[in-house]
């Protein structure tokens, strides 16, 4: 699900143009969305059906006790007082006690309901959070590249919270309101059919305005969530890019942009409120007019003698109580719309199928012999069915233990090749296999322990250095961690940190320099001890001495390991057994570094350029 961000010219002006799918919310789509989110809701509620039923009982009890109150007051006045006068106080005592008991019972029922429904609601939210989070983790990288982090954050925070709101305030009011409305309507019909029909006539405009309201408020809330997502994206991007913001004096421009999205959010909110106020005022108006009509006609009929005075009095009293809960229903409808919009978006994410699916019945990787043999057979790759081919059909065989360097210009398809090995993507045609097993048939856990990739985007998580390294192998001891760090020459700088290996690297490793982060990422990868190591520009931001240390480490580490190294530095390339030169997605040269240098091809020219730059 995405938001129509290419709406106005002013919008596209600074935002630029992107191939966003502009959503056309026609009836069919709406119905499909509703069905989808209803399915999700039902599946979330199913495990709690008994608790929900019990909660319903509590609400019934609460309302019943409340309804009994006025009857007891009437009894106390009509019979109790005369009893006391006659020297028989028992009736009054019973009425008073009964009333007090009803009050306590309704309080007790309310107490139990709030606790029970609160628990069910929170369990449900926990379940929902777990589902969405797990699912997002399972989804392929192609999804993450098209669905932005800001949107996912919205899905998991503000969207889940609007469902929380619904459960929190809505359930309670909704159930009580429904019981009250139904109870009163039935009572009125029993009391006087004709007058009751007049009242029910008032339900026609109420029904119409409710229908209008449901549609409009739904639309309004969709607009609100879309707008708030834009505010969130603007915020997150500013905070994450704060260095550039400050260095380039982007404050003012940013404030302009925030103002823009803020105004959009405000207007969306205003619209939602307007819809709401129109609805509640109309319901109130209908209710009050009905009272006047009932009074006028009722009074005439009482004078005629066709209606009892008491019935008219009851009608007017009940009418008030009939329309009050309708407001609550509106409040509910409000959070309902918000929750429905949220649920639609969440169910949209949940319905995304991972394009790189885990096999249902995985094949185990062989444990015997030398491992790490890679084979590309008839592989062709493009990112989507309508996008140009990135890698035209090719075959490639990498024997176990071989170190391969892939060189080529930016955008030649080197990284794509690496991503196929790590199965971030599946080939569009053909197969990639490891030790004779198609990667599509390998269980995720096995694949991840067999193939490890270090990229130039060396993301670190907030937490200690040790924890970040241990990501490669969670059961590693502190010694293992330190050994891995030492082998890439990271031990020195880590020990110099205020708390050594326990130093918090802060969000995204902000405390460390890019080179330091890369060393940590390296240590992490080595600790994982994979049979295939993929290095995508992994040494690019290291300084010379560090790179030298890493390279020395690599030569031992890569000795009996298959490695695919994407690098643009000669020093890295020369440690490879074999070099592939990639151009426009095709492997144009393939051979040992020495052979290729001798062939006067692209690699030879590259080598010459490198040598010049080093002089």
């Amino acid at each position: 699900m995405s938001t129509p961000t290419t709406a106005t010219p002013a919008d596209t002006d600074w935002r630029g143009v992107a191939a966003e799918d502009i959503e056309n919310v026609d009836k069919v789509v709406t119905a499909r969305l509703q069905a989808r989110s209803r399915r999700l809701l039902v599946s979330l509620l199913r495990p709690h059906k008994w608790a929900v039923a019990l909660a319903l009982v509590f609400v019934l009890l609460e309302n019943g006790a409340q309804l009994a109150g006025p009857l007891l007051v009437a009894a106390a006045i009509d019979n109790g007082v005369t009893g006391v006068v006659a020297g028989r106080p028992a009736t009054l005592v019973w009425c008073v006690l009964g009333y007090a008991l009803c009050g306590l019972a309704s309080a007790g029922a309310k107490f139990s309901f709030v606790r029970l429904s609160g628990r069910v609601g929170q369990d449900l939210l926990l379940d929902l959070r777990r589902r969405v989070f797990r699912h997002v983790q399972r989804l392929s990288l192609s999804f993450h590249e098209s669905y932005t982090s800001g949107k996912i954050i919205s899905r998991l925070s503000s969207d889940v919270e609007s469902i929380d709101d619904l459960l929190d305030m809505g359930l309670d009011g909704l159930l009580s309101s429904i019981f009250t409305v139904v109870g009163i309507a039935v009572t009125l019909l029993v009391l006087d059919l004709r007058l009751a029909l007049v009242v029910l006539l008032g339900f026609v405009p109420v029904y119409l305005v409710t229908r209008w309201f449901r549609r409009s408020s739904h639309k309004a809330y969709r607009a609100t969530t879309t707008a708030v997502a834009k505010v969130i994206v603007q915020f997150v991007e500013t905070m994450n890019g704060i260095r550039a913001v400050q260095a380039y004096r982007r404050h003012d421009r940013n404030e302009q942009i925030l103002h823009e999205v803020n105004v959009e959010y405000r207007d969306a909110n205003n619209q939602a409120f307007k819809v709401m106020s129109r609805f509640t005022a109309t319901v109130r108006l209908v209710g009050n007019v009905t009272v006047a009509v009932v009074l006028a006609w009722g009074a005439l009929r009482v004078v005629d003698g066709t209606l009892q005075l008491g019935v008219l009095a009851a009608f007017t009293l009940y009418l008030r109580r009939l329309y009050d809960p309708l407001d609550d229903l509106a409040m509910f409808a409000n959070s309902y719309s918000a929750a429905v919009a949220a649920l639609e978006k969440i169910s949209g994410v949940l319905e995304e199928e991972p394009s790189v699916a885990e096999p249902a019945e995985p094949t185990a990787l062989p444990h015997e012999g030398r491992r790490g043999e890679l084979r590309f057979e008839g592989v062709e790759f493009h990112y989507g069915p309508d996008t140009p081919v990135v890698l035209p059909e090719f075959d490639l065989h990498v024997p176990a233990g071989q170190t391969i360097a892939v060189v080529g210009a930016t955008g030649a398809g080197k990284s794509t090749l690496a991503k196929l090995v790590a199965r971030f993507y599946d080939p569009s045609k053909g197969s990639v296999s490891l030790d004779g097993v198609n990667l599509r048939e390998v269980a995720d856990v096995d694949l991840r322990s067999a193939v490890t990739m270090v990229t130039q985007e060396n993301f670190l998580f907030a937490g200690s250095v040790a924890d970040n390294i241990a990501m490669g192998r969670p059961d590693a001891t502190r010694e293992d961690v330190e050994r891995a760090a030492a082998s890439v020459g990271a031990h020195e700088f880590i020990s110099a940190l205020p708390e050594g290996y326990d130093t918090d690297v802060r969000k995204r490793g902000g405390r460390l320099s890019a080179g330091q982060r890369q060393l940590v990422a390296f240590a992490r990868a080595l600790l994982a001890d994979p049979s295939v190591l993929v290095l995508d520009e992994a040494t690019s931001s290291l300084d010379v001495p560090t790179e030298r240390a890493v390279q020395a480490a690599l030569e031992t580490v890569l000795a009996d390991r298959t490695a695919l190294i994407i690098a643009h530095r000669l020093s890295t390339v020369l440690i490879a057994d074999r070099v592939l030169v990639v151009d426009n997605g095709r492997i144009v040269e393939d051979g040992s570094p020495a052979d290729l240098i001798g062939q006067a091809g692209r690699f030879a020219r590259l080598h010459e350029a490198w040598m010049e730059s080093l002089a």
Binding site: W14, T148, R249, R266, G515, S541, T546
Partner: protein, 596 residues
């Protein structure tokens, strides 16, 4: 930062906290007052309808005289319409003020956040900041639109109602007060508890958002190591503690409800007992008892809602506290009190004079007395091993951080004496990690130079060797890049970042290893372009590679926070062993291997 915060909050009353919003509420106070008046009017109109009905039943209907009926029914109709209209007016009148206040609060915190130093942002999770700017502010908006108004309206109705009760029968009125007083006390106690849990829940929500953000941004690493399951585990642990906090809220809420429902009922039961005896004794009429009970029943919603409104108020107060927690953060990077003007012509003579620097003003100095000058038009490369303080040094020029000792000057003026905007206009800094925003290429290059023309942008792109690939993008310089747009390779991003640095034609360029993520072809192209640019600009370039160093006229080597050597590349290669270790080329690598 959150737990001790919650403690301090409990000692301050919600109203004192919320009063800090006054400057924002002031401009919209008239609309809010009008909305308040409408709410009160609607309430009174609603209350008087039953009185008129009473008149109809007791008068025309009881007596069978219909002459007065049209008037009285007309009055019901008028009151009914008035109630509905005032009801509508109340909502319509407070929509704009509440959303406007929310918007202004958000813009001001954004303003503050954009100016707080990088050190602050490293410390705070962006999820925490986001939850303040979005969730907390919607809580405040709801408070202004609803709770604040009804707190006043209902309190008024309560006072009026109790007054009426006391006039009807002091004894019956006292029963209501006897139950009402503990209700207020108990609800206050519960609310206080609720407030603590609410704040805890809000903090946990913020933490959860941070985890979500990390898990999404770090998805490649998580996938690469198959650590998604662990991440899910820690996410779930956090979600569970959030659930725990929410359940604590629920428990307090349930207890509060029990009190709110039972006490008024007990009051009515009490009224029944006393009233019944009173009627039997002849000290009270049945009509008075009915009236008293009716009034007490009317007072239920105000009574009921006081607790809930206080809860909303407390939520708003804790949201307000969290909001001001950020707003109160003192920005150490201050604008000079008496700023000096930029000289007519900026030469770009950059000097570091005995510069010291420690992160967070701590004891551990990263820079321990740097003296370095970069003459106008000169390019100085800064080399040093990882962690030697190079990046810290580059942050000081454009005042992304301030020196803790000594000073940095441009054309003899201390950078702290220049307006931040002036300084950052003449100094451009490009970072190791090029950050792109979800905006057009044009916007990403122009960033802080909105008056840059397309010509300027194209020129900058040309210099950064980015023109060619940008032209190939689907919409050229109008193509959206960044997270919400087209994703670019590291080299492409780096070149856009370079274009961004040169577009404003700064006098001083500070480049933190801008060539690190480029492949050889583009590195060469960018280098050639840079050489042209650097020709007449003062530049400080952090370098890791010999190729980058060769762009420089001179090289300064940083060792352990001090300048260990300054000279040309060839001088240093020839004379300095440490320098050779840092930047030795492949040949020496082989020498070493041979030596081993």
């Amino acid at each position: 930062m959150s737990d001790d915060g919650a403690q301090s909050v409990t000692h301050r009353s919600s109203f004192a906290t919320l009063s800090r919003l006054w400057p924002y509420v002031r401009p919209v106070r008239l609309e809010l007052l009008a909305s308040l008046a409408a709410a009160l009017g609607a309430m009174l109109a609603g209350l008087s309808i039953p009185l008129v009905i009473q008149q109809i039943i007791d008068g025309p209907v009881a007596r069978g005289e219909l002459s007065e009926l049209p008037w009285l029914v007309g009055l019901v109709l008028v009151l009914g319409v008035a109630e509905a209209v005032l009801f509508y007016a109340r909502r319509r009148l407070n929509v704009r003020p509440s959303t406007t206040v929310e918007m202004r609060l958000r813009e001001d915190i954004y303003h503050q956040l954009q100016r707080l130093p990088v050190a602050f942002h490293d410390k705070w999770q962006s999820g925490q900041l986001l939850s303040r700017a979005v969730n907390d502010l919607s809580t405040l908006r709801r408070f202004i639109a609803f709770a604040a108004i009804f707190l006043v309206v209902n309190a008024t109705v309560l006072v009026v109602g109790v007054g009426v009760l006391l006039t009807l029968s002091p004894l019956l009125g006292l029963v209501v007060i006897a139950c009402g007083a503990p209700l207020v006390v108990l609800s206050y106690l519960f609310e206080t508890k609720y407030k603590i849990y609410a704040r805890r829940a809000q903090d946990l929500q913020g933490d959860l958002a941070s985890t979500v953000e990390e898990s999404v941004l770090g998805i490649r690493v998580l996938k690469a190591f198959g650590r998604g399951r662990n991440m899910t585990k820690s996410f779930m642990a956090q979600a569970r503690s959030l659930r725990g906090a929410e359940l604590s809220k629920v428990r307090v809420m349930a207890a509060l409800w029990a009190v709110l429902v039972s006490l008024p009922e007990l009051a009515i039961a009490g009224q029944l007992a006393i009233g019944g005896i009173g009627i039997a004794n002849g000290t009270l009429t049945a009509g008075t008892l009915v009236a008293a009970i009716t009034v007490a029943t009317y007072l239920r919603w105000p009574f009921d809602s006081i607790g809930w409104l206080l809860a909303e108020t407390n939520m708003a107060a804790s949201a307000c506290d969290r909001y001001w927690e950020v707003r109160d953060e003192i920005n150490p990077l201050v604008e000079p009190e008496h700023p000096r003007e930029l000289p007519e012509h900026v030469h770009g003579y950059l000097r570091f004079e005995d510069v010291h620097f420690a992160y967070d003003g701590g004891q551990h100095e990263v820079l321990k007395g740097i003296d370095l000058e970069v003459r106008p038009g000169e390019t100085v490369a800064l080399v040093g091993s990882t962690g030697s303080g190079k990046t810290a040094l580059t942050a000081l020029v454009a005042r992304l951080a301030d020196v803790t000792g000594g000073r940095v000057t441009v054309d003899g003026i201390d950078v702290r004496d220049l307006r931040m905007n002036d300084l950052r206009q003449i100094v451009a800094t490009a970072f190791e990690e090029p950050v792109l925003f979800s905006a057009s290429v044009r916007e990403n290059v122009a960033l802080g130079t909105p008056d840059a023309t397309d010509e300027d942008v194209h020129e900058a792109l040309r210099v950064a060797q980015a023109e060619e690939f940008v032209a190939k993008l689907p919409w050229g310089i109008a193509t959206r890049v960044g997270e919400q747009g087209l994703s670019l390779s590291g080299g492409q991003r780096q070149r856009l970042a370079l274009a961004r640095a040169v577009v404003g034609r700064p006098a001083v360029l500070v480049l933190d290893d801008p060539l690190s993520a480029l492949d050889v072809h583009t590195e060469g192209e960018v280098e050639r372009a840079l050489r042209r640019v650097l020709h007449d600009v003062t530049a400080l370039v952090v370098a890791h590679r010999p190729s980058t160093v060769q762009l420089a006229d001179r090289v300064a080597m940083l060792v352990d926070g001090r300048i260990a050597a300054v000279g040309t590349h060839s001088e240093l290669i020839a004379t300095n062993a440490e320098y050779r270790r840092l930047l030795s080329t492949l040949d020496e690598d082989e020498d070493e291997e041979v030596a081993v």
